[in-house]
C-alpha cells in the first residue's frame, strides 16, 4: 500500500469525522459518500483508479472553490441590489459566470495573453508541449495555446454576433406577429415557413458559395437561418400569453401594441426564450463547425475552434487528444452558458421554491 492510498483515505475519514462533529450535514454526506465510492473503486480498479477518482474529486472541489470565491467576489464588487440577486445564484451558475468571464477576458485581451500570433510558425510540426508552448504545436508548428486564445475571440465573437442578430430579428417579429395578429401574423408566418423549409446546411452552402466565405456572410447566413426558429418559438409562447385574460384586460384599457409587448407579453414569455438562447448559441457553433467540415466556414489561417476540431479530427482514431482541446473549449463554454441560463430561467419563472 502506497503512501498515497493511506494519505488519501486518512484525509477523507478525518474530513468526514470533523464535519460530522461540527454538525455540517452536506460536507459530511459528500465526503463520506466519496469515501465509500473510493473504497469500492479502489478494490475494483486498484491504485490507478483511486488516483483518477482523487484527481476528479480534486478538480470538482477546485471548480466549486473557484465558483464560490468568484460569486463572493462578484457580490462584493456589485452594487447592493445586484449583489442580493447574486446571493441566490447556485454554485453551478457561479461556475458558469466564471467560465464566461474567463472567455471574455481571453477574447478581449487575446493579443496580450497569447504568447505568439495566431498564424506565427515557431517550431516543427506537432512539437510536444514545453515551457514555451503550453499545449504543444499544431501541424504547421504554430502554438496551440495561442490559437485557442485567438479562437475564443473569433469563434465566440462570430457565434455571439450571429445568435444575437437571430434573436433580435426573430423575437421582435414573433412578438409583433402575436400581438398584431391578422395579415401581418400570416405574412411573417409564411416568410418564416419559406426560410425554415429550405434545409439550413444547403441554404448556408449556397449563400457562402455565392458570396464567398467571409465572416460577415457567415453571420448574416446564420442569422437568417436561425431567426425563424426564434420567431416561431416566440410566436407560440406569446400566442399562449396573448389569449390570457390580463392581456384582454390591457387591450380593453386601450394600451398600445408596444406597451403590451414590453410590459405584458415579453416578461411572461421570457423563460423559454432564454432557454432557447443558450441552446441556439450552441447550434450556431455546430453549424459553423459543420460548414468548416464542408470547407466553407471560417477560413485558415484564422483560428477558430470548429475548424481546429475538423483539421485534426482524424487523429482521434489513434487516441491522440489534439482535437479534444478545441472541442473541450466549445463544450465547456456551452455548459457554462447553459448553467447561467438555467439560473436566470429559474428566477424569471418566478418560482420561489427550491
Amino acid at each position: 500500500m502506497s503512501y498515497f492510498v493511506v494519505g488519501y483515505f486518512a484525509f477523507l475519514v478525518l474530513g468526514s469525522v470533523l464535519s460530522a462533529h461540527f454538525n455540517r450535514r452536506t460536507p459530511f454526506l459528500l465526503l463520506f459518500s466519496l469515501t465509500l465510492v473510493s473504497f469500492v473503486l479502489g478494490i475494483v480498479g486498484g491504485t490507478d483508479m483511486l488516483r483518477m477518482v482523487a484527481i476528479g474529486a480534486g478538480l470538482l472541489a477546485f471548480a466549486a472553490g473557484v465558483s464560490y470565491s468568484f460569486r463572493e467576489f462578484l457580490i462584493v464588487i456589485a452594487p447592493v441590489g445586484v449583489g442580493k440577486e447574486l446571493k441566490t445564484a447556485p454554485l453551478t451558475a457561479a461556475f458558469g459566470m466564471f467560465v464566461v468571464f474567463t472567455y471574455i477576458i481571453a477574447a478581449i485581451f487575446a493579443p496580450v495573453i497569447a504568447p505568439y500570433g495566431e498564424a506565427e510558425v515557431i517550431s516543427s510540426a506537432y512539437a510536444p508541449a514545453d515551457e514555451n508552448m503550453l499545449l504543444g504545436a499544431d501541424q504547421l508548428g504554430r502554438d496551440m495555446f495561442s490559437r485557442i486564445v485567438y479562437g475564443a475571440r473569433n469563434t465566440v465573437g462570430l457565434a455571439l454576433a450571429a445568435t444575437i442578430s437571430a434573436f433580435l430579428i426573430g423575437a421582435l417579429a414573433g412578438l409583433l406577429a402575436a400581438t398584431k395578429g391578422g395579415w401581418f401574423d400570416q405574412f411573417m408566418g409564411r416568410v418564416a415557413d419559406v426560410i425554415m423549409s429550405i434545409p439550413s446546411l444547403i441554404f448556408a452552402l449556397l449563400m457562402l458559395s455565392i458570396f464567398g466565405p467571409k465572416t460577415i456572410v457567415i453571420i448574416v447566413a446564420v442569422a437568417i437561418i436561425y431567426s425563424p426558429r426564434v420567431f416561431r418559438l416566440t410566436r407560440a409562447v406569446a400566442g399562449n400569453v396573448v389569449v390570457m385574460d390580463y392581456i384582454e384586460a390591457a387591450k380593453l384599457r386601450g394600451e398600445r401594441t408596444w406597451y403590451l409587448i414590453r410590459k405584458e407579453i415579453l416578461p411572461n414569455s421570457m423563460a423559454p426564450l432564454i432557454a432557447e438562447f443558450g441552446l441556439e448559441f450552441c447550434f450556431v457553433f455546430l453549424l459553423v463547425a459543420g460548414l468548416s467540415f464542408l470547407g466553407l466556414g471560417i477560413q485558415p489561417p484564422t483560428a477558430d475552434w470548429g475548424s481546429m476540431v475538423r483539421e485534426n479530427a482524424t487523429l482521434i482514431s489513434f487516441g491522440d487528444i489534439t482535437p479534444l482541446i478545441p472541442a473541450g473549449a466549445i463544450a465547456l463554454l456551452t455548459v457554462a452558458v447553459n448553467f447561467v441560463v438555467d439560473w436566470m430561467l429559474f428566477r424569471s419563472s418566478g418560482l420561489k421554491e427550491r
Binding site: 498564424a119 506565427e120 510558425v121 516543427s124 510540426a125 501541424q139 504547421l140 508548428g141 458559395s209 464567398g212 466565405p213 470547407g295 466553407l296 477560413q299 485558415p300 489561417p301 485534426n312 479530427a313 482524424t314 487523429l315 482514431s317 489513434f318 491522440d320
Partner: protein, 535 residues
C-alpha cells in the same frame, strides 16, 4: 546449423514474401550479405514472385466520388471514374508498373519516320462483356467521341492534332497527325480514351457501361459503389480477384476506419496527418508513390515586378521546399526544382542541381534588381489541395527572411480556376499528372498556349519543344528535355515547389507486383487487375 549469412537471407526472403521490403532494398541487403547480384535477383524472383493466388473479393474504398458522375468517358474527372474505367474498360496502351509504356488492346505500333502517321495493330482476342468481339470500328468510334465540332469531351485537346483515324483492316488502325508527335502512344494512356462498343452510326454506346476490361459491372451506382465480377475472356494476364467491390468513402476518417477494421481491403487515399500513426499498424501497408502531378506557383512574366528574372529567381530561392513537404504534405511529396517535369515521368533529367532555400542570395538578387523590400501578394484557396492556404502562409513566413513581404490573399473556393488562375499575377495551382513532359510543356509553357500560366516567352524553349515533339530517338529527346528544364528553372516564371505523392494503403494480405505505376493512385488505378490476396 545455419550460418549467420543463411539466416539473414532467410529473413530477407521472408520479408520479400510478406512484401515488407522493396526490391531495391532487398537487392542491397542481399548483396551486402555476400550474394552476387544475379543470385540475389533469382532469390527475389523465387521468394517474392511466387505465383499470385486467384480468388477473393477485393473491396476498395475510393476517396473522390460524385453522385452525378456518368459512364461518359468525355466527362471522366473523379478517381471513382478513373478507377472504374481501368477496371471495366480497356485502353490502347498502358503504363507498366516500372513506368514504361506497354501494350493493352494494341499489341504493337509503328510510325513513319517523321512521326506523323501511327499504325496500331490490335489484338484479335478482345471481347466486350456482352460477348461481342472488339474490332477497329469500336476503337475508331471511341476515339472520335473526343474529336470533332460537336464533341463535348474534356480530352478534346489531347487529340487536337489528329487529322484522321483510318481503318486498315478489322484489327489495324492508323492515326494521321497534322504534325509529328512521337508521344502519341503515351497520349493514348489518357484515362478518357477508353474503348466503348460502337453503334452503327459511328457513335459509341457508353450508357450501357459495357467494356473490354478485366471486370464487368454487376450492379452499382455512382457516389455509392460498384460490384464487379471477373471477365473470364479478358485479353491480358492478371485479374486474380474473383470479384471487385468499389465503395465510395469520401470521408477520410470513415475510409481509414474501414481499412483498420477490415471492412475494406484497400483505400485510394489516406489523410496525410495520420500517415505516421497508420503505418504503425502491422496489418496495413502504406504505399507512397511519387507522381506526375505538381503544385505550381506561376508569376505573370509580363507584369512588374515579375518581368525581372532576378525577382523571379529571388522568389524561387525564398521558399523552403523541405519545410513545405514536411509540414503541409507530411513528407509525402517529392521536391520540385522549378521545371514542370516530375521524376515519375519519362526523360527526367537527374543531374540538374537542386535549388535550395537561400534567403541571403535572394536578398542579393533583389538588390541587383533594385527591388529591395519587395511587397507582393499571392492568391490561394483550400480547394486547390488541402493545406494550400497554409502553404501560402508558410511561404510568407519563410520569405520574410529574404526581406520579402508576401500577403496571402484567400480567394473563394468556387470558380478559382475561372476567376483567379490566369488572371491574378501570382497564384497557386495544382496540375494533374500528364503522361509525358511534351504534353505538359505544350499545355502550359508553349508561348501561344491558352494555359501558358506564366505568360513566359522563351524562343529557344519553344524551338526545342517543337523539335523534341517529333524526335523518335530517345537519347536525343532526353538531352533536349534537359536543356528545356534548365531554361524553365533559371529563366521561367513558375515556382514549382513540389510534386505531391500518391499515398494509399491496403491490408497486408493484399500483394502487389514489383513496382507500382505512378500514373494514378492504386497502381495507376489498375489495382483490381494487378494485385492479389496472399494465398
Amino acid at each position: 546449423m545455419k550460418t549467420e549469412k543463411q539466416m539473414m537471407l532467410d529473413r530477407l526472403a521472408d520479408a520479400a514474401r510478406r512484401g515488407s521490403v522493396s526490391r531495391r532494398s532487398f537487392m542491397a541487403c542481399a548483396t551486402a550479405a555476400g550474394v552476387t547480384a544475379t543470385a540475389a535477383t533469382g532469390l527475389w524472383t523465387s521468394s517474392a514472385r511466387a505465383a499470385p493466388a486467384r480468388g477473393g473479393t477485393f473491396r476498395v474504398g475510393i476517396h473522390d466520388n460524385n453522385s452525378s458522375d456518368t459512364h461518359d468517358p468525355g466527362t471522366y474527372l473523379s478517381i471513382q471514374h478513373i478507377f472504374l474505367a481501368h477496371t471495366h474498360r480497356s485502353y490502347l496502351t498502358l503504363v507498366n508498373t516500372d513506368q514504361t509504356l506497354g501494350p493493352d488492346i494494341a499489341a504493337e505500333w509503328t510510325s513513319t519516320p517523321d512521326a506523323t502517321e501511327w499504325t496500331f495493330k490490335l489484338r484479335d482476342n478482345v471481347t466486350f462483356h456482352s460477348g461481342k468481339k472488339m474490332t477497329a470500328d469500336d476503337v475508331i468510334a471511341s476515339m472520335n467521341h473526343h474529336r470533332g465540332e460537336d464533341s463535348t469531351s474534356a480530352a478534346k485537346p489531347q487529340l487536337a492534332d489528329v487529322v484522321d483515324i483510318v481503318k486498315d483492316d478489322d484489327y489495324t488502325v492508323t492515326f494521321k497527325m497534322a504534325a509529328g508527335n512521337a508521344d502519341l502512344p503515351w497520349t493514348l494512356t489518357d484515362y478518357h480514351l477508353c474503348i466503348c462498343p460502337a453503334n452503327d452510326d459511328g457513335t459509341i454506346d457508353w450508357q450501357s457501361g459495357d467494356g473490354t476490361g478485366p471486370y464487368k459491372i454487376v450492379d452499382g451506382e455512382f457516389g455509392i459503389g460498384f460490384q464487379l465480377a471477373r471477365h473470364e475472356d479478358w485479353h491480358l494476364d492478371g485479374a486474380y480477384f474473383d470479384a471487385v467491390e468499389m465503395i465510395a468513402l469520401g470521408d477520410p476518417n470513415a475510409r481509414q476506419t474501414a481499412l483498420v477494421t477490415g471492412d475494406v481491403d484497400a483505400i485510394s487515399a489516406i489523410d496525410l496527418k495520420t500517415m505516421a500513426l497508420l503505418s504503425r499498424d502491422p496489418n496495413l501497408v502504406i504505399y507512397n508513390v511519387p507522381s506526375g502531378s505538381a503544385i505550381t506557383m506561376p508569376m505573370h512574366t509580363n507584369v512588374a515586378p515579375y518581368d525581372n528574372v532576378d525577382v523571379r529567381n529571388a522568389l524561387k530561392l525564398a521558399m523552403d521546399r523541405q519545410e513545405c513537404i514536411e509540414k503541409i504534405f507530411f513528407g509525402a511529396a517529392t521536391v520540385g526544382n522549378d521545371f514542370h517535369h516530375s521524376p515519375a515521368l519519362p526523360y527526367w533529367p537527374d543531374d540538374i542541381p537542386q535549388r535550395e532555400y537561400d534567403p541571403d542570395q535572394a536578398k542579393a538578387l533583389l538588390k541587383k534588381a533594385g527591388a529591395e523590400g519587395l511587397s507582393i501578394s499571392i492568391s490561394s484557396t483550400e480547394s486547390i489541395f488541402s493545406g494550400a492556404v497554409d502553404m501560402a502562409v508558410l511561404y510568407a513566413e519563410q520569405a520574410k527572411a529574404a526581406g520579402i513581404d508576401i500577403k496571402v490573399v484567400r480567394e473563394p473556393n468556387d470558380g478559382y480556376y475561372s476567376d483567379v488562375w490566369l488572371k491574378k499575377p501570382y497564384c497557386m495551382v495544382r496540375w494533374g499528372a500528364r503522361p509525358t513532359p511534351d504534353v505538359m510543356y505544350t499545355l502550359a509553357y508553349k508561348a501561344d498556349a491558352p494555359w501558358n500560366e506564366s505568360l513566359w516567352q522563351n524562343d529557344r524553349f519553344n524551338e526545342l519543344l517543337l523539335i523534341a515533339k517529333s524526335e523518335l530517338d530517345n537519347g536525343l529527346r532526353a538531352e533536349m528535355y534537359r536543356e528545356m528544364a534548365m531554361l524553365a528553372r533559371d529563366d521561367g516564371g513558375t515556382l514549382i515547389p513540389l510534386f505531391p505523392n500518391f499515398v494509399y494503403a491496403s491490408r497486408s494480405n493484399v500483394k502487389t507486383g514489383d513496382g507500382l505505376a505512378a500514373s494514378w493512385e492504386m497502381d495507376g488505378c489498375r489495382a483490381a487487375s494487378r494485385w492479389w490476396f496472399e494465398g
